[in-house]
Subunit: 249 residues, 2 copies
Amino acid sequence: MPVTTAPQSGPLSCDSCRIHNRAVCAHCNADEMVRLEQAKFYRTFPAGQVVVCAGDEMDFVGTVVTGVATLTQTLEDGRTQMVGLLLPSDFLGRPRRIEAAYTITAVTDLVLCCFRRKPFEKLLADTPRLASRLLEMTLDELDAAREWMLILGRKSARERIASLLAILCRREAALMRETPSGRMSIHLPLTREAMADYLGLTLETVSRQMTALRKEGLIDPQGRRSIIVPDYAQLVEISGDDMDGAPLV
Amino acid sequence: MPVTTAPQSGPLSCDSCRIHNRAVCAHCNADEMVRLEQAKFYRTFPAGQVVVCAGDEMDFVGTVVTGVATLTQTLEDGRTQMVGLLLPSDFLGRPRRIEAAYTITAVTDLVLCCFRRKPFEKLLADTPRLASRLLEMTLDELDAAREWMLILGRKSARERIASLLAILCRREAALMRETPSGRMSIHLPLTREAMADYLGLTLETVSRQMTALRKEGLIDPQGRRSIIVPDYAQLVEISGDDMDGAPLV
DNA sequence: GCATAAGCTTGACCTGCGTCAATGACTGTT
DNA sequence: AACAGTCATTGACGCAGGTCAAGCTTATGC
């Protein structure tokens, strides 16, 4: 499988790391960063590759540096539900757990900043600032999961699509340290099938609703991986939310 | 509103606390427990009462000592989704956040062991064992939320009901420090409407599926708040899971 | 260039669950 | 006993979204 976007792998320095300020190491001081830098190592995965399968042993934890990965759960008969979408700065793996609870898949080329699990647990115990940041991030993830539960439990297909696009807008804006508004252009790394797995729908339904939104002028697809949202507020309007939602990471 | 089960409120000692070993304070040593004991206070709520509304200021955090509470989210048009079910030993509130993100409601008479938010944040910062336990509990809640997402996104009504009952079996067993198996009797504190809010269904659908499961002999309701499960394994069977799921808290 | 595959769109049809509505069961009150 | 209120059950009906199937677009390999 060819690597289409060159992953920035190799020994990056934490000084120049573009996700440091949002990652698990964000609150560490200089001394602590030295220790982290000594223990870290990078791993890369090409688009489409499985990072770990649910149930497999996972002897590392890490942070997404570039690319996108998904967490998915599957029933015996093949029904699949995405339960996490990992974007740059998101943390993966769980301290003190050996077996992976979910299947992690690289959906684009992926660069991870990793730590072996045991040494990371030691660092966690010795570095309150690291532990406190991890708690904060986990609580944010829990909030995101709960917003997602509302989508899965109570929203129509149309509202679900709009909700997903709105979430991606907010993420995109957060990266630029802005609040989402007006006309926006977002990157959509997911296939229709991945969107369906995210939203608890079938890929046909996703496709139909995307077509409908396009025809109504609510979205304007640019090629296969990018979308222009002419009016963010309008998107939120039809997502069913009343806009006062927490600033979802 | 009459109090039907006498809440064990009043100044309980942490020594005799029946949920200590599963609560946020579980890993604290004697010194730390002294400090917690000085800061704690109990609050009680009668069944049906709202503890806090989403968006309201919440100046405390706490642990469920006895009773059951729910976290719910609501869309403007009234659609409601439960996003958390708080049983004894579960933690509520979020350090460093003032506004409640969800509506918390007592579904039975409820006793909470509370701390004012600010002092608790101080304790968290000074007590690694407290912080580490809170992280562990939050990660467990995140796992539970993700299992729930699979239910909401991909399971049929029948499977959802079975999943909920299986989860309650596991919780019931965990309380007794056993693994669920064979014939079990579980307490069901939720109304049909609350079950529907949990499962992303309507109360009519819940009622119909409960009737169907009863007629098939998979459950045997005892009055309105209690159910006998003749065969736990069979319940898991029809829940769609393949049984190897994580031991869900 | 063509071949193959992966992903997307669209149509026709069907079904599981939601909606609306009536009735029943239980509990506490006067 | 009669009642009022809450919660649960059951039926009739309709529709949103699932299923199955065909064809289209775009990308990649030879």
